[in-house]
Symmetry: none
Subunit: 243 residues, 2 copies
DNA sequence: GAACCAAATATGTACAAACATAGTGATTTA
DNA sequence: TAAATCACTATGTTTGTACATATTTGGTTC
C-alpha cells in the first residue's frame, strides 16, 4: 500500500489521512486484530504531525471502525456485521467501509397489490399496485440477509432502476426524495420454511427480524422494509444518551 | 452558569469541558440558534488551551449536538436525534406504561470475579470481585426475559439493596450515579440449555439478545448488562432522524 | 444609495514539544 | 522460583503558536 499524502492538494491533510486509514481498515492485512502502524511512525511516513494523524484516527474511532488501547496500539474493530442507528450509510456502503465483501444473490422486482398493513401505512387503496423489491445478500460464502421493500407510488420508481446502486442514492439523486426519518422494530423469530430456504438454514433457526418504516422530508411514508438476518451474522447497535 | 474546571482533578480537562458543554447545550440560554461563546474566549474562561476545548467540541460535533460554522460560530443543533423514546424507562416502568403486569420470578445477587471481557470494559483486574445481579422476569403466565447485570465497583453497590426498586433509581438516588450513555448491541441467537430452562422454552429456540454498556456522566463504565428475551415477546423500537 | 474594499471575527488546519499513563516483557531481587 | 522492579512502547493529555479561510460588518468611493 502506498503510504503518502499530497501536501500540495487543497484537500486537508487530516481528510487525506482519514481516506487512507479507511483503505487500511478494508485491507485484509490489518484484519483479525493485527495492529496498525503506531501513530508516530505512521505520522512520519505520511510526513504529517502526530496531531494531524490523530485527528483522522479520532474520527474513525468515533465511528467504531478502530479501537485504540493505551500502551498497546490501534487495531481495526472486529468486522462483525453491524449497523449503527442514526447512521445513514446504506447497507453496501457500510459493509464496504468495513472491508466486508458483499455478494448479491438475488434481486427481484415486481408490482403487487399491497396487503392491508402496507396499504394502511402508505394510506392507499389495496387495489393500487405498488413496487416490491426483494433482495438476497450476503458474503461470498452464502447469504445472510433477505430484504423485502415496498415503495409508495409517490417515489416514482418504475422498477427499471439499477438497484445495484444504493437505494437512498437512487431516491435522492433521481427522484429528489430524501429519507429523513426511519422507525424500526427489531425482534427475534424462528425462520419459516421460505426464509430458511432463502438463507440456506434450517426452519426454526433464529432470525433477527427488522421492520423498517421510512419517511421523507415531509414525514410522508415512502418505504416499508422487512429484513431477515441470519442469527449471529448481524448485530444491531444503538447508542442513546439521556438528555 | 459557573464556567470553571477543576485543574487538580484526575478527570482530563477535555472530558470536564465536554460535560460542561453538554450542560450548556441543555441550557435554554443557548437554544434556538443562539451562539455559544467563541472558542478563544471560552478556552480562556476555562483556563485551558483552545486545542483542548476543541477536543471537547469535536466530540459533540461528531454526535451531532453542535454545529460549527467557519467565520460565524458554534450553535446547538436543532434537537431530535435518535431513539431515546422508551430507552431510559426502566423495564418495569416501561411494562407498566404498556399495561403489562410484571411478575418477578427470580432475583439473585452474587459477588464474582469478572471474565476478561467485563474486566476489560470496566478497566479493572480480573481478581477484583464485582457485583452480579441475575433476574428472571415476565408475565404472570411465565418468564420471558432473563437479565444479567454486572456493576463496576465505583457504583458502591453492596448487594444489600432492594433490587425491586428500579435500578436507575437506586443508583441515582442512593449513590448519585446517573446513567448517562448507553451503548447496546442487539442480535438474535439460539437459546442454549441454561437459557432455555430459565425461560421455559426449548434449546435452540430463537432469542433476542441484548448486550448493554452503560456509562455515567463522565463516560466511565458502570454497568454491563445482558438481556435474553424470548422471541416475539419483545420488540425493540428505534427511531432515527437524519441530521 | 449601491458597489466595493478592508478590518474584525470565528472557526479550520497544522506543527512541535512535553509529559502522563497503561500495558508488555525482560531483568533483578527476595 | 516467584515476585518486584524497571525499561520500553504506544496511546492519552495538554499547551503554545501560527497561519488559512469563511462570514459579517462597517467604512469609503463612485
Amino acid at each position: 500500500m502506498k503510504l503518502a499524502l499530497n501536501h500540495k492538494s487543497p484537500i486537508p491533510l487530516h481528510i487525506q489521512a482519514e481516506e487512507l486509514l479507511r483503505k487500511m481498515i478494508a485491507d485484509p492485512q490489518f484484519q483479525n486484530g493485527k495492529l496498525l502502524p503506531n501513530e508516530i511512525d505512521l505520522a512520519n511516513q505520511l510526513a504529517i504531525s502526530r496531531t494531524t494523524l490523530r485527528q483522522a484516527l479520532n474520527k474513525l474511532v468515533y465511528e467504531g471502525l478502530l479501537i485504540r488501547k493505551k500502551g498497546v496500539g490501534t487495531k481495526v474493530a472486529d468486522a462483525m456485521i453491524s449497523s449503527k442507528s442514526a447512521n445513514w450509510l446504506s447497507f453496501s456502503q457500510e459493509m464496504k467501509a468495513r472491508g466486508i465483501p458483499i455478494k448479491n444473490f438475488e434481486l427481484h422486482v415486481s408490482w403487487i397489490y399491497p396487503e392491508e398493513v402496507i396499504a394502511n401505512f402508505f394510506n392507499i387503496k389495496t387495489d393500487q399496485k405498488i413496487l416490491k423489491l426483494e433482495r438476497l445478500r450476503g458474503k461470498p460464502e452464502g447469504p445472510f440477509v433477505y430484504f423485502v421493500s415496498y415503495f409508495h407510488p409517490r417515489t416514482g420508481l418504475t422498477g427499471e432502476e439499477d438497484f445495484k446502486r444504493p437505494l437512498y442514492d437512487i431516491l435522492q439523486a433521481d427522484y429528489n426524495i430524501i429519507s429523513e426519518l426511519s422507525k424500526e422494530e427489531i425482534s427475534a423469530k424462528a425462520a419459516d420454511k421460505f426464509i430458511a430456504s432463502k438463507l440456506e438454514t434450517e426452519p426454526g433457526s433464529p432470525i433477527l427480524f427488522r421492520k423498517r418504516f421510512v419517511f421523507d422530508q415531509a414525514d410522508r411514508p415512502i418505504e416499508y422494509n422487512l429484513g431477515y438476518y441470519k442469527a449471529d451474522s448481524f448485530i444491531y447497535t444503538v447508542e442513546s444518551r439521556r438528555s
